[in-house]
Amino acid sequence: MLPLIRFDQVSVTIHKKMILSGISFALSPGEKAALCGKSGSGKSSILKTLLGLLPVTSGTVYFQELPLTAASIQSIRSGTAYIGQEPMLGTETVREALLLPFQFKTHRYHRPTEAQLIEVLQRLQLPAGILSQPGSRISGGEKQRIALARGLLLGKKLYLLDEVTSALDAESKAVVLEVFSDPDLTVLSVAHDPEWLERCGVIFELEAGRLTRAAHHENT
């Protein structure tokens, strides 16, 4: 099976500072992977590089075997959902936040129905009433789940999750882990949560911008 993403000897240097060095790995559709390492080891930089937010100094990043270039970046971003540690909702109400991507040309004709909005909220154990609430009034954990719900509504191929369970309580975390364990979803995550790591097929360990170890789980 062709890998969904592939890093081939990727290095990133910014202002003469090495951020990533010679990173190579591949992720197949449906696979779950976690990037682990100390703060500043380059975990989040791998996600940002894939999204074109950091400039590749050498090597090549592939998405569905399509090399990451200025011409392909829009389609790569369109096929990926990135959810960060402190997600930005970018709007007034939760409903507007969920519908925000559907204002853009790429998703304009895939606007979800009210029933679909409620269904995705229920999957993440959020009440339907939250739709009309202002984004400023909801908790960090709820905000995190709304960002995840927005990603799910887009029906992306690949989910890039950066410490998304950090603001969640045990119950919410269990729900999120269950949702992203779906065999149809491909997930590349920055995570330290043992419960999530157990569900990942492969764990990449990073140290000072280098990939030092790739541990594969047999049972996933």
């Binding site: 074109g52 400039p55 990926t80 925000l100 853009f104 790429t106 998703h107």
Partner: protein
């Protein structure tokens, strides 16, 4: 009616008026005499030089010379806009020049050729002061537009990147900041039009009345200049921001670090 001249002794009397606020400032402990003195000296020298040049310009009234004067004003305004907006002149000078040159030349030409219709379209008595007034206001608007846009983007970099990650094109992702910047750029002109004549008599109108014009004529010229200022500021800020997008972002739509002066 001929405007009364201010003779040299009266000019000296006028400078003498400055001594009163200087004394007052000293009394409250504000030691600004040196700065104020330099400012008054600079103002007087600069205006004297402009007076000499304008006299020459009006006497010769040559189309190329008038055009050259406008070109110099545009170049000075171009660099001034970028310096005050904190952007690198090396990168943005051409974009800003294109935006202000098009907008100012278009508005001035519209006003002079189609509305005022002097015997010669290049008449220095019309195009030089009118282009100068339009450009001066356009300059303020463009400083606000560029400064607001890039500082908002830097401040909201996470939000901007979130828009990109959610599938927005560069234009879709910058649009909220773009709209706010254009609004901020034209707001002073809109507010000024709304209160014109109520709060104060506009400078150009006052000048014309002192110069002997009928109040009605002065009013018509004031309306004309305000409409042209509004048009050129709107055009220039939109064109300038739009052209700058091609310079300030890399091929992956990320705002370059090195576009602002501090980098």
């Amino acid at each position: 009616m001929k405007t009364l001249d201010i003779e040299l002794p009266q000019m000296a009397l006028l400078y003498g008026l400055c001594l009163l606020p200087l004394l007052l400032l000293r009394l409250i402990g504000l030691r600004l005499s040196r700065d104020i003195g330099i400012s008054i000296l600079r103002m007087s020298t600069q205006l004297a030089l402009v007076g000499i040049y304008l006299k020459m310009l009006f006497d010769l009234n040559h189309p190329w010379l008038n055009g050259l004067w406008i070109l110099v004003m545009l170049l000075v305004a171009d660099l001034s806009i970028l310096r005050r907006a904190g952007l690198k002149a090396r990168d943005f000078a051409l974009a800003t020049f294109t935006a202000i040159a098009f907008s100012v030349v278009f508005s001035t030409a519209y006003l002079v050729v189609l509305v005022i219709q002097p015997a010669h379209f290049y008449d220095a008595r019309y195009i030089v002061p009118l282009a100068g007034m339009i450009l001066g206001n356009c300059l303020q608007g463009n400083v606000i537009a560029l400064e607001r846009f890039y500082s908002a983007l830097r401040k909201s970099e996470n939000e901007y990147e979130t828009f990109l990650m959610l599938g927005a094109t560069r234009w879709e992702a910058v649009r909220p900041y773009f709209r706010e910047a254009v609004k901020a750029a034209i707001n002073p002109t809109i507010a000024s039009m709304a209160t014109m004549g109520l709060v104060s008599l506009p400078g150009m109108m006052t000048g014309q009345i002192l110069g002997g014009s009928e109040p009605w004529l002065a009013v018509k010229y004031q309306i004309a200049i305000m409409i042209c200022i509004f048009t050129s500021t709107t055009f220039a800020s939109i064109i300038n921001l739009k052209l700058s997008l091609n310079i300030a972002f890399n091929a992956f739509d990320v705002l370059k670090d090195e576009v602002t002066e501090k980098h």
